[in-house]
Amino acid sequence: MSGNLALRTIETSAAGYAPRRTNTQLAVDDLVAGVESWWLWSTLAWQDIRQRYRGSILGPFWLTISMAIMVGALGFLYSAIWKIEITTFLPYLTLGVLFWNLISSLINEGTSAFIRAESIMLQVRMPMTVHVLRSVVRNFIIFLHNCVVAAAVLLIFAVPQSLYSLVSLLGLFLILLNGIWVTLLLGMVCARFRDIGPIVSSLTQIVFFLTPIIWMPDALGNKFWVLYLNPVYAFLEIARGPLLGHTIPMPVWGMAFGVTTVGFLVTFLFFARFRARIPFWV
């Protein structure tokens, strides 16, 4: 009989339930709660970095050293191949590699953002956005390590800077902002389809060669327009150009803001639709 009584209680209190929130509202809730718990994702990101320092004094500086070696070797070789002064080419290459490393690690670690978080996700309720921001912040911290190389090169070659150089910070901000939707989208897709992660990393390698990093856009001559098919170029140029005294052309700005807007819209639709499925995918 007690069972029947319990049932009646639920029926009478059924009106007391808050109306079920829609998927869109829940997705917004997740994003807001995720961003608000900044101390959570920033601490988790730092914990990841400390993990890399553990058992190794240099930690992520290994990546910085390998970047310095790569830039040094490629700089001498390619300035000879392209017949460009090393004083022009090496700063260009260094900044290109610096921002490219950030972009490519955002993409590649984005693919595993949710898969890596499996053990947390299945134990504790936490906004999905936290896992995304953790990945973005971790890559930003590693980027800061690599900045040492770029700063050294800019100083050694005495690349002139002006107030316009600060536009580069906007470029960096745009890269990180886009890192959020890229991580969220790839994190979901790659949790659901496990073979997409490796495909993404091969594609990223191809994009490295298609993007003007080890070559200069001028080399394209009248085929310059092909760069406007490559969204990575826009972000890279806004971050790199100002530090080299290049003015950013309007189409590049348009492309960067367009990609940011469309990226967030598409990702949000996916997120609203599939957010609740993520724990079953990981």
């Binding site: 988790l44 947390i120 299945l122 134990q123 504790v124 309720r125 724990p279 995918w281």
Partner: protein, 267 residues
Amino acid sequence: MSSIRLSNINLRFPLYRDSSRSLKRSLLEAGKAVSRSRTISTDGGHTVVNALNNVTCNIEHGERIGLIGTNGAGKSTLLRVLAGIYEPTSGDIKVEGRVNALLNIGLGSDPDATGYENILLRGLYMGLHPKEIEKLAPAIAEFSELGEFLHVPVRTYSAGMGMRLSFAIATATHPDILLMDEWIMAGDRRFLQKARERVDSFVSRSQILILASHSPQILAQWCTRLFWMDSGSIVMEGETDAVLKQYETGEPPASPSDTQQLTTLAS
């Protein structure tokens, strides 16, 4: 005052990747006593697990609830729904109070981080600010009795040590509702006794304990009311002794809720 209200909770999820392995695993989890067709079905090529079927229950403050059933009966899934990890496919859920869940012995711990670092990490996961965790850390360290081991990576811990740390963290944060899965068994007898005392004081402050286990002994000791789960449904609920007695027979009583659930599935 903490309370839990569940009304007609259903949870269905598709199994996607590596379907043969997942299917095999889920069949194993479903257990031999389970009629498989009720738990697993196929829908448009996907294998769908009906993890919870029309689960309805009311839990009031101060209750110690046990979930009993075979592996794969839906105990852990129900705990995850209560913890807000899985969102039900349909049904209404209302949980009042702050929930801490001890679902897995690892509790998302970082195996390479030390015990102290894991106190910080897990405190963060539970929504605490680093400052609050700092204040709680000495009490957690003391209750866990891990001493110097807290400076060592948790990957070196035994199951019992991991459990002690997890339990100490989860209960030190004064949750209103504590969810625990059956690995609580990993502790030694003395620590289990200590853990029970802490849970007793916790429940006497009008908080709720929900413990999933397939061990009648543990449930008889810890719980006042039991839900017997089978194939994702509550097939019987009542006083611990009554449910355990029936559970020993292996046959759930034919109840109105059971038949109702069968007709819902058939429709």
